[in-house]
């Protein structure tokens, strides 16, 4: 009986001592956490895509609370979420412009053809490094899907040899644009009306030889556009999205149908 009492006392005393030590340590090493950080973090999407330039959503929330980043730093957040974050931080909501990725190439297997048999690592960057021009067109999408791998939102897929963006899922974080070795992916405002889906800077006849969906630099679109929104530079049409009114006259006239509605 005495043994049990002694054991209980010893364990009880040790428990009390350790408890006291924990309380003391908790006080001494207390790290102040801004409660706003957790609230901001809840408004962020949580995919840790890195589109904001921070290490992930936690880091982005911390940066916003510390004032190191703007409240609309997250390119993925909706306007609603930004307003919530602004309310938490007590600042005016900045207007966010929703963006999306756009692949400036339509060169599927049907439109262009494979020039040489690339065998090696299934990655666009590796293919570019090998120096082999895989497709007849030197400028187009390689279709090995480096962008698909980079996308955290399952918004990009390679269909018949060329990458296609799913605008519903795309959040405009820009990770795909950063990995594309051909610089084909452009981040554009999601309310853009028309865009040129080709990146070839080769001259018209050469483009015609290698791809059925290549910009020939023929300037028919320039002549059609009443808003003067289209310019042809370096054998490639460019649309000034600010000026474009979305009349779609250029799309009708384009012989290769490279101007697409979004």
């Amino acid at each position: 009986m005495a043994g049990i009492v002694i054991a209980t006392l010893i364990v009880g005393v040790i428990g009390l001592l350790i408890g006291a030590a924990l309380v003391a340590a908790g006080k001494k090493f207390y790290v102040e956490v801004d409660e706003r950080e957790a609230l901001v973090r809840e408004c962020l999407p949580g995919n840790n895509c890195g589109g904001c330039g921070q290490a992930g959503c936690d880091a982005a929330a911390a940066a916003i609370v510390k004032g190191e980043a703007e409240v609309n730093v997250c390119p993925v957040c909706s306007q609603e979420a930004v307003e919530k974050i602004s309310a938490i931080m007590g600042v005016d909501a900045a207007a966010t412009v929703k963006k999306r990725a756009f692949v400036r190439c339509l060169g599927t297997c049907e439109k262009t053809s494979v020039k040489c048999n690339y065998v090696g690592i299934h990655d666009c960057r590796s293919a570019v490094l090998s120096g082999l021009s895989v497709w007849e067109c030197d400028y187009g999408c390689l279709g090995f899907g480096s962008c698909v791998e980079a996308c955290a939102f399952d918004a990009l897929h390679v269909k018949e040899g060329a990458a296609v963006v799913d605008p519903e899922k795309c959040t405009g974080c820009g990770r795909c644009a950063a990995v594309c070795p051909k610089n084909l992916i452009e981040l554009i405002r999601s309310d853009t009306k028309a865009a040129v889906a080709c990146s070839s800077r080769a001259r018209g006849p050469e483009v015609k030889k290698v791809c059925a969906a290549g910009c020939l630099g023929c300037k028919l679109c320039t002549k059609q556009c009443e808003a003067e929104a289209i310019q042809v530079e370096g054998n490639l049409a460019h649309i000034d999205y600010e000026k474009c009114v979305g009349c779609e006259k250029c799309m009708e006239k384009c012989p290769a149908k490279v101007i697409v509605r979004l």
Binding site: V119, I121, G131
Partner: protein, 444 residues
């Protein structure tokens, strides 16, 4: 007696039997010649001719722009047709000078003038080398006049003419040593003038007995010059492998050959130095091997710089009828670059065209499995790196570990690990990509 060698390395089938006994013949191109402005490592040369200018063989087309850069001379006479972007071996469109060949090969003034090297000072020798546009003809393409002017010429102990030619199929250096032995020794002696305390070593793998004999004969009665035969093992021709054999020193991280008291140049470069200094001939032609089981008559050719690969393949009889060539390589099968098109020009540092009827990469890809952790890649790496761990880091894009912990940037891309890998992993390609991405991030 076993000869000296370096640590690691592999023994691939050497394929030298195709062309090793075919003596050089000179091939004069018929079509236009294309001269890319960035044949060397460093800044591209600056053109000094304009469209429509008439040029002669040996005339300067573009001059070195900056410290690490090299001159480019015309290798034929004719009219400058265009200054435009053309595709090169590496698959990129780069600025090139295109010369319409008039097929007369009229030499420019002063080319071929005999000079006695004994009367020249060290600086005059370097100036002549620079004017001739000599770069590392073995493949690296580093401007030779820069390499031969290290900070401490007194401390150089060995000047090494690299005749290892360890890359399978290629035999142009072998033939050069057999036929131009005395000129190579003269070239080496000119280099030794720049390095008063150095010994000249001609390093040859023992699978080239005729070349060893020819060079030994050429060295008879010559001071400060000797031939060293070494074991046949790939990559014996790598700079570090050579230095470890000749000087017994292992280059540490970031060390240059000159820091270990060595200057290493390919025998073709040494021969070009002889021609530039003694004959005032700039780099207009080079030895070139066309070989492989997809070539009708494999051969060694003296080709003009700027000749198209397709012309050279035709000169070698083309691809025999009924044979389907599956792989075209600029260089050999270990380190060569696969070509998508033969309409690219031969640069100063391209030494071979290999045509293969099988594609080993395709077959390897079919048989690829996960890493077996057998560690053979670690054993064969001539630099003592750990390719197995580097591959894991590269695949996970853990570039910090790749660079800082595994010293992956030291990889010379010799391909020994990929050759030996029983799981057929594409190791070298992973390393090349990792290196390219790390270097790109550093430039930002």
């Amino acid at each position: 007696m076993l000869r000296k060698t370096f640590q690691g390395g592999v023994h691939p089938a050497d394929g030298k039997e195709f062309a090793r006994n075919v003596p050089y013949r000179t091939y004069l191109p018929k079509g236009d010649l294309v001269f890319p402005l960035n044949q060397h490592i460093g800044k591209p040369a600056r053109p000094v001719v304009q469209k429509g200018d008439l040029v002669l063989a040996g005339q300067l087309l573009a001059e070195a722009d900056g410290f690490v850069s090299a001159n480019i001379v015309s290798s034929c006479s004719g009219k400058v047709k265009a200054l435009e972007n053309r595709k090169t071996v590496a698959g990129l469109s780069v600025p090139c000078i295109v010369v319409e060949n008039d097929s007369s090969y009229t030499l420019a003034d002063g080319v071929g003038a005999e000079t006695d090297a004994a009367n020249l000072t060290g600086q005059e020798i370097l100036d002549k080398i620079k004017a001739a546009g000599i770069i590392g003809l073995g493949g690296a393409g580093f401007p030779t006049h820069v390499k031969l002017a290290p900070k401490n010429p007194q401390e150089i102990e060995y000047v090494i003419a690299n005749g290892a030619e360890c890359e399978p199929y290629i035999t142009c250096d072998d033939q050069l040593m057999r036929t131009k032995g005395s000129e190579i020794v003269e070239g080496l002696k000119i280099m030794l003038r720049l390095f008063p305390n150095a010994e000249g070593v001609i390093l040859i793998e023992e699978n080239k007995p005729e070349a060893i004999k020819a060079m030994e004969q050429a060295c008879v009665g010559q001071e400060r010059v000797r031939v060293q035969a070494v074991q046949t093992k790939y990559p014996q021709g790598g700079e570090r492998s050579i230095i470890s054999v000749v000087a017994g020193k292992h280059l540490k991280l970031g060390m240059l050959p000159a820091d270990a008291g060595c200057v290493v140049d390919n025998v073709a470069t040494v021969h070009a130095i002889y021609r530039a200094v003694c004959k005032s001939e700039p780099v207009m032609e080079r030895g070139f091997t066309v070989s492989g089981d997809g070539v009708k008559s494999p051969c060694n050719l003296m080709v003009r710089i700027g000749t198209s690969f397709s012309e050279v393949l035709l000169e070698a009889g083309g691809i025999p009828e009924g044979v389907k060539a599956k792989k075209l390589l600029c260089g050999g099968p270990m380190m060569g670059i696969a070509l998508a098109s033969l309409d690219v020009p031969i640069c100063k540092n391209n030494n071979a065209l290999t045509v293969l009827c099988t594609d080993p990469v395709e077959e390897a890809q079919k048989a690829q499995t996960a890493c077996l952790r057998c560690g053979r890649c670690n054993q064969v790496c001539p630099l003592g790196l750990t390719p197995q761990m580097m591959a894991v880091a590269a695949e996970k894009k853990n570039y910090e570990r790749y660079e800082k912990k595994l010293y992956g940037l030291e990889c010379i891309a010799c391909g020994s690990c990929t050759y030996i890998c029983p799981a057929k992993r594409p190791l070298m390609q992973l390393f090349k990509q990792a290196k390219a991405e790390i270097m790109a991030a550093k430039r930002k």
